[in-house]
């Protein structure tokens, strides 16, 4: 437990967190390992866990009928995966697949939501860390939408 606490609080997503607050997350956390090709979760499945990548690589994939799946983003060590665990109806909006040997912390979503509801300091601390990542990813998605490497129209 002691090493899980040390490792979890050492994750970049929680960098600088008040240890007293951070320690409260430990009870929700477990260590997980995914082999290349294994899915962390699939689109539409219950978003019942929040993942912090320790090492490895995770591809976020979207599927459309009659088309090959498309990777929209890839994430590595120090990054977090997904926010659907926080937003009703708590269902994943894409697939997440390990593309290398990947080690993550999984934080039980029910446990995490309960603690954030019960302790707004902790809830606010989580929001403060989640929101900049979400904004950064939304801005990146907008840049990808611009298709800047394509030819400008004549």
């Amino acid at each position: 437990m002691e090493t899980l606490e040390r490792l979890l609080l050492g994750h970049e997503f929680l960098a600088g967190i008040d240890p007293a607050l951070g320690r409260r997350l430990v009870g929700c956390a477990r260590n997980l390992r995914f082999a290349p090709g294994e899915y962390l979760f699939r689109e539409g499945g219950p978003a019942d866990e929040f993942y912090l990548i320790r090492e490895g690589r995770v591809a976020l994939e979207l599927h459309a009928p009659a088309r090959p799946p498309i990777v929209i983003e890839s994430l590595g060590g120090g990054e977090m995966v997904g926010a659907s665990w926080l937003v009703p109806p708590y269902r994943w909006g894409f697939d997440a697949r390990a593309t290398a040997d990947t080690r993550v912390f999984g934080l039980d979503a029910h446990c995490l939501r309960g603690k954030c509801d019960a302790d707004h300091h902790l809830g606010y601390e989580m929001m403060r860390r989640l929101l900049p990542v979400m904004v950064r990813r939304m801005q990146a998605a907008r840049q990808q939408m611009l298709d800047v490497y394509g030819h400008p129209p004549a």
Partner: protein, 282 residues
């Protein structure tokens, strides 16, 4: 009757004939041409400079040099067919002749970057004008601190120089990070925008020089991300593209605010142009 002028005084508006020695296909619409002069030697060029290439009877466009500045056997150009002239150049067969004048324009400040960490950031076709700088840097990498090449493209099939990126990436003295906007699951590399790579490599922002080339939107977002990371605006250099006609500072076609891109550029310092980059339709 006067004798023919010496080469240095030759009419800078008059293209000289160069033969296409070899053609390599890079992607579906990009080729690399090796060009050799019919009449003279191959001039020196500085990384970042461009030539005006003339497809006889079609037209003339600026194209950056993409080869090794230490190789004096030919000029190397990497061309994407986007319109009539670039398609004619990209379609030139080995043995055919193109007109060429140059080299023109400003250079990447490779030597001035010695002693600093160096970030070379390219998007799409922008890797071509940066490749001469990469060759020069890697030829004497001990002069620099950490060296990183960050490269982004639309998809894996549209990346330039993939074999060379792999060779550079295997070296201990340079970090290479490649990302694409979208990919199918067979791509195991990074997916995301170029600025996202900046946070993933180790460098010392106050002591970093950055060289950027790519589509203007990508330049803007990348320069903003570098500034946010703590890189000084005057140490960020970017290559700008504007339509050109004369390439020698006469016609004003390439004007970008107070600068003529053909002479003051194409490589310009970010602190000089940041305000203009933010303005629409200059």
């Amino acid at each position: 009757m006067s004798a023919a002028p010496p080469a240095a005084l030759a009419d800078p508006m008059l293209p000289a004939p160069w033969r296409v020695r070899a053609v390599r296909r890079e992607t579906a619409d990009v080729v690399t041409l090796d060009l050799v002069p019919l009449a003279s030697g191959v001039p020196c060029f500085a990384p970042g400079q461009f030539n005006m290439i003339y497809a006889y009877g079609v037209g003339e466009v600026p194209v950056s040099l993409s080869g090794d500045p230490a190789d004096r056997s030919c000029f190397v150009h990497t061309v994407r067919a986007v319109g009539e002239v670039s398609a004619a150049i990209a379609g030139a067969a080995p043995g055919s002749v193109l007109g060429l004048r140059g080299p023109f324009g400003s250079a990447w400040p490779v030597d001035a970057a010695a002693g600093h960490d160096l970030l070379i950031v390219a998007g799409g076709l922008g890797l071509a004008p940066l490749r001469p700088a990469i060759y020069r840097v890697l030829a004497r990498s001990e002069r620099f601190g950490r060296i990183a090449v960050l490269y982004g493209g639309r998809g894996p099939a549209e990346l330039l120089f993939r074999d060379e990126l792999a060779v550079w990436g295997a070296r201990a003295d340079v970090t290479v990070a490649v990302t694409v906007d979208h990919a199918d699951p067979s791509w195991h590399g990074h997916v995301g925008v170029v600025p996202a790579l900046i946070g993933q490599i180790g460098f010392d922002p106050p002591n970093t020089v950055a060289l950027l080339c790519g589509p203007e939107v990508m330049l803007r977002f990348t320069a903003t991300a570098l500034r946010a990371a703590g890189v000084a605006a005057e140490r960020i250099h970017l290559s700008m593209e504007r339509n050109m006609k004369c390439a020698i500072g006469l016609c004003g076609h390439c004007q970008f605010g107070p600068d003529f891109v053909c002479q003051d550029g194409p490589v310009l310092r970010y602190d000089r142009i940041a305000a203009r980059l933010a303005v629409r339709e200059i």
